[in-house]
Symmetry: none
Subunit: 202 residues, 4 copies
């Protein structure tokens, strides 16, 4: 029951309330988990009251759903761009595989939320997110299958499993990657894409 947001606040150039709420919720959900984050904490972090939150969002669950919508839209768009590029399939897969790593690292909070809190969505929203996730998976799988068909990738492993293998490592980034660590996002992306392509060598 998300209400459409048309205008923002005017007080002193601050970001509009719904965006402030979404940002606060994203950070808190990622840090503490969905269940451990109270609505009170969110509104305090955003500097508004509960009433304001429920003016823009139908429920705490809705807030989570919005986060999912944002990250799903972003990733799908980027994947589409790479998959449709005019390049050999091994190049397109490599670029897509590396890009999802970079994008994930740049939005680590969203990713943490994505994989840890999916089951907190109500059944209907859960189903919707799973469907969008599925589309994403299949787009990626199509690339792998294309490469296997034309013979540049080994067909020893089912394409589905290959996709889950790679996404597993992407998902796992939220568990170990630290921005102040030894590797930049681009370096990690390069290595992980490399591992995928090497694993697919015929």
């Amino acid at each position: 029951m998300t209400r459409t947001v048309t205008a923002g606040t005017t007080d002193g150039g601050a970001r509009p309330v719904p965006q402030r709420l979404l940002a606060a919720a994203t950070r808190l959900f990622a840090d503490q988990g969905y269940d451990r984050t109270s609505v009170q904490e969110i509104v305090e972090a955003a500097g508004v009251t509960k009433g304001a939150l429920y003016h823009y969002f139908g429920s705490k669950d809705d807030l989570l759903h919005e986060v999912y919508g944002r990250v799903l839209r972003l990733q799908q768009e980027r994947l589409d761009a790479f998959a449709c590029a005019d390049a050999p399939v091994e190049r397109r897969l490599r670029d897509a595989a590396a890009d999802v790593v970079v994008t994930t690292i740049e939005n680590l909070d969203d990713t943490k939320i994505f994989f840890r809190s999916m089951h907190h969505l109500g059944p209907e929203k859960h189903k919707q997110v799973r469907a969008e996730r599925r589309r994403y998976h299949e787009r990626f799988r199509a690339l792998v299958e294309e490469g296997q068909r034309v013979g540049v990738f080994s067909a020893a492993t089912p394409a589905d499993l290959v996709v889950d293998y790679h996404f597993g490592s992407v998902h796992h980034l939220a568990n170990w990657y630290r921005p102040d660590g030894a590797l930049t996002a681009a370096q990690v992306a390069d290595h992980l894409a490399d591992l995928l392509l090497r694993a697919l060598r015929p």
Copy 2:
């Protein structure tokens, strides 16, 4: 599925109370998440009362900690066995990589809990689990490094990253693997170990 009776069973033939509680908690935590599972649900599922739970466990948190202890112990033991085996390093790594997949699938509930509920542990228990997890990671990494040193594995990718790559896919199993799906645990393990080894080909 162990049936070892260690402490005072009162109602002849049933498993002792602490084990019944642990089993009930494991299933419920995996199905609904730690926060969504009430102590009341656990004791009802185990067929005891709250008093009994608090007799054996100091807190709900303790219950979770016990689950972690069990799975960590199990995985460490198995890895140690494979790592110390008398075989070429590529064989030892392959066996270890495949075994963690099988073990994970056989204990999917524990794995779900492991990755989704770590942040529910209190700080000191959290630290303890992370330390044990680290030891496990390093044991595995040592195998990769050994292979790289002796030249049977490519050294293009840092060993740490290789380990996280593989464990990412293992962790991800809880998100997609279904016992009634197309592939058996052994087949999945074979494929994933294969992908790892192929990615490491010099």
Copy 3:
């Protein structure tokens, strides 16, 4: 169902805003009760915004008070007309008793609100309504007493009690009368007036 336009209608042909609000509130209060009806629901049903409601009415409470005012005025007027008619007292009482039944059934929503929501009015409005109600009661009682005095009605029962006996059954209509039931409003009115007159036979 009046279509009298008293104040600034803006959107050609629709009833003015205050009347739309009052009608919406009446229906909702009767269906769900005063407390279960939110101001938001009322304004949505009336097709206006909250600001508009608070422009015309001081509070939600005010809305309820208006409903009371309308029904009280209507019933008092009708009773006065029957009581002052030029006819024998038994005829006048009978007609008045039957008319209040018909009027009540024709405005069942108002009646539901009347008896269920009186205690939701603020103290001074409550007192005011009770006073008007009292006047109505006394007007009716006067008819009974008149008949008792002239001997056409039995004086075995105090007139006050007779009035409450009849009004009890009128009040109760909202609990059981259904427009699609076996009896028309007129038939019910006839029967109830009959019972009253028969009970008063000397």
Copy 4:
């Protein structure tokens, strides 16, 4: 989800907690209405905490349901006793009609709640209460019909309507009867039963 209450408190001879809660709720519901009475008020009046209330009752709604259960049971039992008595039908109806007045006056709070708050029950409980109420109505109607059949009562009015006529006045008692008024409960009962019987004279 009412839990069965097996034992009470031991501190100082006070009534057990569930009974204290029920008594407090009854009084408050009658005085202020169901919606206007907060759970907080109830527990404060009963001298316990919310947790205690929810230990014994599944919901606020449950509390209301218990009140209904008590009054329905009581009235049905009394009606049954009078209806089955060994006496002419006019005597049995008169006694039953008078008794329900006395019982109602003695439990005016319950009656207020009964007629004003029925629609606050959830659909399932509502249906159940309506069914029990229906049984009561039919038992009473059977008495009227019996009298009409044997000719001691006029058959001019449908028996159903006669019953609603009388119950209307009983229901209405909560709106006007005051214990410190001019009439005792027995006197009011006598008069109202009288009116009913006189209305039914052939």
